[in-house]
Every structure is written in C-alpha cells, then in structure tokens.
C-alpha cells in the first residue's frame, strides 16, 4: 500500500515535471515570461554554517535579474550555486532543487552545465595569454571544430570590444585597461554561447564610464541570453535590470519587477535597504 502510493507520487511528480517542461516550450502567453532557472527550497552550507536558507526563485528567460542585498547576505553564494562553482570550495553542501530549462543541474555533467551557464567575476580575470587566446580558450577546451577566428571576432563584437582590440588580438590581455579586461572576460564567456550569463559584481572594480558601457552591453545581450547579476550598487540594479531580488541573511526577502520593487516594496526590510537605512 505504502509502496504503491510512493510509486504514484513519483509518477505524479514526473508528470508535473513534464507538464512544466512543456509549458516552458516557446508557446507562452505574452503576459507570462518563460522561466530559465527555477530554484526551489535551496539551502547552502559552508561546512556547518548555513549561508542560504530555503530560497525559492524563478529567473525569467531573456531578462536581466539582479540580486541585491548587504555584504554577506549570500547573494554571491547563491549565484555561484547556479553553475556549481561552489563545488570548487571544500566542505560545501547544497540541498534543494535547481532546474535549468526543467533539468536538474545537480544531476547534470558539470562541464556541460558550465558551458550553458557562463560566469563573469568581480575582478577581471583574463588568463595570462593573448586577447585572441583568451576568447578562444573556452572553444578550444570544448573541442570546438569550426573556424576559431570567426567566432573570436563574433564574441568580441558581442562584448563591444572588437573595435578596440581588432589590431592587437595577439597582444597580452594584461595590456588592456580594467574595463576592457572585463569586457574581454565577457567575450570569453560568450564565446561558448551560453544560455545564461552570471555576473558577480562585474562593475565593482570599474569606473562609472566603463560601468555604463558594461550595462549597455548587458542590455544588448538580453536578446540572446538570460542574465543574472549580483550588485552592491542599487542604482545599477534599478537602471539595468528587469527583475530584482532582495536578499538578507541568506534568505530571499522579496522578488519583483525592478520598477515595482524600487517604488513599492512589499517588505519593510526591503524598503529600509533601498532607502539606505542599512547595508
């Protein structure tokens, strides 16, 4: 009896999952945005210390979702669970479910996952190679068998860097300015054509002019990519994102369209944070 009911519920879950998957195929109603990432009941631990508590969030396709919150609230940790980068840190544990287009990422091959979910880090981290080799890196390690130069050019164009570097492709990436290096890192991530681009405070080491360039770039990337950005800068979240999630002490407090969250926050803690009363 018990086993039969378990079997039933498993089938029910499977059916529900298939339904969800079919819902997510292109045919969506205009009012409803389709979901790329669906995170449910996510807990994350560094050893015994829990950093993310029961987080539920849907990250919509071809939109920019920003994650805001005070330092140490777990937003970067959360972002890094989305491409399983936290697995590189010893003694970490994740619980819950993260679905990428209906597929559980914890069951996916990590290399395949990271190819689909690219990442740009806080500090520009170009490899000590030429500009060309930096962009080609992801393609080479993934055994890409096409015309490398074309794809390198295409990626640099998508990252709005081509015009500045087209005559110095074989110079060291370290010769670029900070903002150029960050755009190079974006080009490097884009080269493998990811569906999602995670950006972990990509502008915190950059000046306002360069920041504006990156934000404009993000805006253009929306057409081909889903973006999730962690930022300390609330103006940036307000300017550049479609949806905003506010986190505090490892919990998701509020998630809404950016315009709504910043004008009519539902939670007093969100209001306190965005009006600058703490954090």
């Amino acid at each position: 009896m018990a086993s039969a009911s378990q079997g039933n519920s498993a089938t029910a879950a499977e059916t529900a999952r298939q339904t969800r998957m079919s819902e997510r195929t292109p045919a969506t109603t205009p009012t409803e945005v389709s979901v790329r990432f669906e995170i449910s009941n996510l807990d994350f631990y560094y050893g015994a210390k829990q950093a993310v508590f029961g987080l539920n969030l849907k990250i919509p396709k071809n939109k920019i979702t920003s994650l805001i919150g005070p330092s140490g609230c777990g937003k970067s940790t959360f972002l890094r669970t989305l491409n399983r980068m936290n697995e590189t840190i010893r003694n970490t544990r994740v619980r819950g479910q993260i679905l990428l287009d209906g597929q559980d990422i914890l069951e996916m091959d990590v290399v395949a996952l990271r190819r689909r979910v690219g990442m740009v880090f806080q500090r520009p981290n170009p490899f000590p190679k030429s500009i060309y080799d930096n962009v080609a890196y992801g393609l080479r390690i993934n055994g890409y068998r096409g015309r490398l130069p074309d794809l390198v050019e295409h990626s640099l164009k998508r990252a709005a860097l081509w015009d500045e570097v087209k005559n110095s492709l074989h110079k060291s990436a370290f010769a670029l300015s900070g903002g150029q290096q960050q755009r190079l890192c974006i080009a490097r991530a884009l080269a493998v054509d990811p569906e999602v681009l995670l950006l972990d405070e990509p502008c915190s080491a950059l000046d306002p002019v360069t920041t504006a360039k990156i934000e404009e770039l993000m805006f253009h990337l929306k057409d081909s990519c889903t973006l999730a950005i962690v930022t300390h800068n609330m103006q940036q979240a307000a300017r550049a994102s479609d949806f905003t999630a506010f986190m505090l002490d490892g919990k998701l407090i509020e998630h809404n369209e950016t315009s709504k969250l910043f004008t009519t926050p539902q939670d007093p803690r969100t209001e306190a944070y965005i009006t600058g009363r703490f954090g």
């Binding site: 590189t88 290399v111 990271r114 490899f127 992801g138 390690i141």
Partner: protein, 284 residues
Amino acid sequence: MSHVRLIWRKSLNAVMLTLTGVAAFGVVSILFLILGYFIYNGGHSLNWDFFTQLPKPVGELGGGMANAIVGSLKLLLLAALIGLPTGLLAGVYLAEFGGKALGFLIRYTTDLLNGVPSIVIGIFAYALAVEPVKHFSTLAGGLALGIMVVPITLRSTEEFLRAVSGSLREGAMALGASKWRTIATVVLPAASGGIITGMLLSLARVAGETAPLLFTALGNRFWSPGWSQPTAALPLMIYEYAISAYDDWHRQAWAAGLVLLALVLLANLGCRFVLNRRGTIRSV
C-alpha cells in the same frame, strides 16, 4: 625628557640602519670577493686548450678539462631528466591536490630530503646504481644529482603555483575546464616563469656538488666511454687538482672553479631573463 628620548630614538635608528647596511654590504662583497679571487687566480689559465684538451699526464704542462666540462653537462642532463619532471609533478600534486595530512607529510619529507647531506645522497645512489652492477657510472652520478634536484624543484613549483590567483582557476573552470585542464592550460603557464627559475636554480645548485659524485661518477682522466662508465666532472676535477702537489694543476683548478662559477651565474642571469619576459606573451 622628550628631547632625550628623541635623541635616543634617532641614534637607535642610526645604529640599526648601519648594522643592516653593513650586513647587506658584507653579503654583496663576499660574492664579488669570490668572483674576483677566482678571476685573479684562474683567469690566466683559461684558454682555448682548457675547453678543448684532455688532461695531460702528470709532469706535462698544459692540457685542459674538456672531458670534465662535457661530463658535467652529461650529469646535469641526467639530473634534469630524473629530477625536474618528478619535482614538477609532485609540486603540482602538492599545490593542487594534496590534502592536509598528506600535504604535510610530503612537504615535511621534502624539506628533510633537502636537508640530507649530499654525501649521504651519494651513498644512496652508490647502493642503488653502483653496488648492483659493480662499477661506477655516469648514470649513478646523474641519479645522485637528480635526487638532489627533486626537493628544490618541488618546493619552488609548489610556491609559484600557490601564488597564482584563485580567480584564474575559477575563470577557467567557469568555462567548463576540468581541474586538470585548468592546471595544464592556465595555472602552469601563469606560473611558468617562476617554475623555470626554480628549475634552473636547482640545476645550478647541483652543478657544483662534489660529494655525491665521489663514489658514483668517480671521475675520469679521459673521455667517458659511455653512460654506464665513470666520467669526469668539473667539481671532481677541482677537488683532485686542488689537493695535488703541482702548480700547474692548481692553476687549472682555479680555472675550473671559475668556469663552474660562471655557469652558475649564467643560470641565474638566465632566470632573470626568463622572469623579465613574463610580461610579454607570444601569440598563438
């Protein structure tokens, strides 16, 4: 009161500055004294013959140490073949994979190995490669030197790998590179300048070792007939010639010392050169 303290502080400052300065100057001058002394004593014995001729029989003047120079190079080649890959790979393991307990064990053992007197290494190589075959050989000498190369290469490799920023590793892994791929294509190239320096310095260090060669490579007054036969080496020549009774041999010992010293200095300069080139990167 405060005036007295000010004077006290300033004079203490002056005294310490002088002490540190004198010590630093002392270090620099020791090197230049050695170099100058060798040039003074050995410089005039350095001629074309020294590099191209075999040692002359006792009593005949002139001759050279061509066999010892080639012998030293052969021994260094063997030491490099044995010691560098081992040290490099173990260093990668230690820096990238070594757990806490195992890492500690490897590190500790390596430091102990580094501290083992070179003559003991020589005895070990003797037991391993001379005793069983009952004759001295170039191979045994290379083995002894190779063992000495391992700990130096290992620790410097580990150190330079650890200095590579974690953000580079993350960048590569975020692109889907496996750990091994990340190490091979990003971390090692980033640390290559330092690692190569460590390797060159370790070779320079063993180039002058005499004790491990005494009962392995043994020495030879003629061209070594092969890898399995005894060979001459510069440090052995210096030892033999310096304690001999002949003035001509003394002069040649000085010259050999100068050559050895120049070899080590050149290796060091080579390191500087490699390190300076790290900034510029060749394309594809």
